[in-house]
Symmetry: C2
Subunit: 309 residues, 2 copies
């Protein structure tokens, strides 16, 4: 089961919707965008967080709650939007004491409020003892007021390809539990670059795979320079595929600052958009490797599936 | 673990939000209502559908998909709103072939479109083999254009209490898989009655329990006349507690038609709002039974938990 295939299938079915029924952006981007009332625009996204799959048993509940909310918030950041509200669901193993469930929902509430999108609704239900905890968080947000939503498909030949922060080793280091969704960075980029901010995605499934998605959505080729990619000091050689980085990967026209002043987050040029298709990584030794297959897919495997260290 | 307790806890934490940050209705009603842009209003709700809990293994996928969507659509109906868009998640046991997952999402897509709220986003992830299928559906909608959202808390002494359709035996008969969310009925009631349509809820956890919620939200008492409650011919003596009926229970001032002409759905007066608190059922033999405890709670048990037949 491949999420990409399935999402494309859903997107195909819904393509006819775009522009109809208030659907300004349908499935296939980081968020949908909907037209509400006269001129209101709403971003909407939902993500899972599943025990064993996205966090190990024994992870402090506060960090579980944080990651559940932060993943969806990151999808809003990827459109350069601002999170406003959230709805959370929890399917809870039957042997959890009520206090533990309350602690989890209190923490989700706190983190949602902290990320600017307080919980306005939700649902809980019980699972058999021994089943994994299954959370979902829907986040609703607003697109950037002047730039509008930054989509995946806007990359054009000649543009630079940029990354906020650094990638690699997120799972082993625990950063996948504590990452800061790049909401202020994305908003600032949209403020600064306007329409020059051409395309954006958050890096959840590995830089290589997500760069491949950016290329495919834009109908262009992307060439990444492996040596230029900032990696965390504790990242291993699979840093291009590790996933769970939640950094912003974007294509932009013209000059791009190398730092977001409000947060101090570095911004690094790591490649170039070209005519053609697919994403290629130019390795340190000069080899050219297809990048699309470096990442990992939500559908299969578990934590560290493509992270063999 | 009691969902009511937990939702009240979330509602307590979020009460301060009401009127702030665009939150016009926070947690604790059938939907949240949010202010989007200049004057746009959005209803938002999310519900689970879990194997063993909400449907038995072996249920045709088309009916699983239908119920997953219909449950959330029914929450929008309970506010007299119109469903517009949906987002669906599926946590799928690892041994499902991809074709089965596709079939499920295709069916959710079809039903969402059929109920007027096409899927604009979603997420899939895998669960261990043997875990139950866990679906969630978020539905976004619009409140009634003139009446606005019909809340749970508007019942006032002297009003009548009404029910669409009939209750009881939903699980055993299979109606819980094929019920028609009462969207047109709710909209028509709001058209016809305007502000006289004082309070409404959909009956998911048993008529007695949901009437208790209506009473509590309004700070009033509700007296139900057991003999007046329309029951399905196949319903047993627990019809007031069976749950999963997804009919509308509402309080209204003045005369109420006994039929929704567009759908032919009967509307029956089943009780009265009074001063005081709690909900009492006046049984056929004249006994007065507290109704709040007749229903069942999402948190515990399984299908038929309070349905001992």
């Amino acid at each position: 089961m491949h999420e990409d295939q399935l999402l494309r299938r859903i997107a195909d079915r819904t393509r006819a919707l775009a522009g109809r029924g208030g659907v300004e952006i349908g499935p296939g981007d980081d968020c949908a965008m909907l037209r509400v009332g006269a001129g209101g625009q709403l971003l909407a996204t939902v993500d899972h967080l599943i025990e064993f799959r996205h966090f190990e048993p024994g992870t402090p509940l506060d960090l579980v709650a944080r990651k559940a909310v932060a993943r969806s918030v990151s999808d809003v950041a990827a459109m350069a939007g601002t999170p406003r509200w959230a709805l959370a669901t929890g399917a809870i193993p039957a042997d959890w004491p009520q206090q533990r469930t309350e602690e989890l929902f209190d923490a989700m509430h706190r983190w949602a409020e902290g990320f600017g999108c307080p919980l306005v609704g939700g649902d809980i239900a019980s699972l058999p003892t021994g089943a994994p905890l299954v959370l979902t968080v829907t986040v609703l947000g607003e697109p950037h007021p002047s730039r509008g939503p930054v989509r995946r498909g806007g990359a054009r030949p000649g543009q630079g390809v940029y990354l906020t922060g650094a990638v690699g080793g997120s799972l082993h280091s625990g950063r996948h539990l504590t990452f800061q969704p790049r909401v202020p960075e994305a908003r600032w980029l949209a403020d600064e670059l306007g329409a020059r901010l051409a395309a954006m995605i958050d890096v959840s499934d590995g830089l290589g795979r997500d760069a491949g998605r950016l290329a495919r959505a834009g109908g262009v080729a992307i060439e990444l320079n492996e040596r230029a990619v900032p990696r965390h000091p504790d990242a291993g050689p699979t840093f291009l595929a590790d996933g769970e980085d939640y950094e912003l990967l974007f294509a932009a026209e013209g000059p791009v600052p190398d730092l977001c002043p409000a947060t101090g987050t570095p911004i690094t040029r790591i490649g170039t958009v070209a005519a053609g298709s697919g994403c290629v990584v130019v390795a340190a030794d000069g080899r050219r490797l297809p990048a699309d297959e470096l990442g990992w897919d939500h559908g299969g495997g578990g934590i560290g599936a493509n992270n063999p260290e």
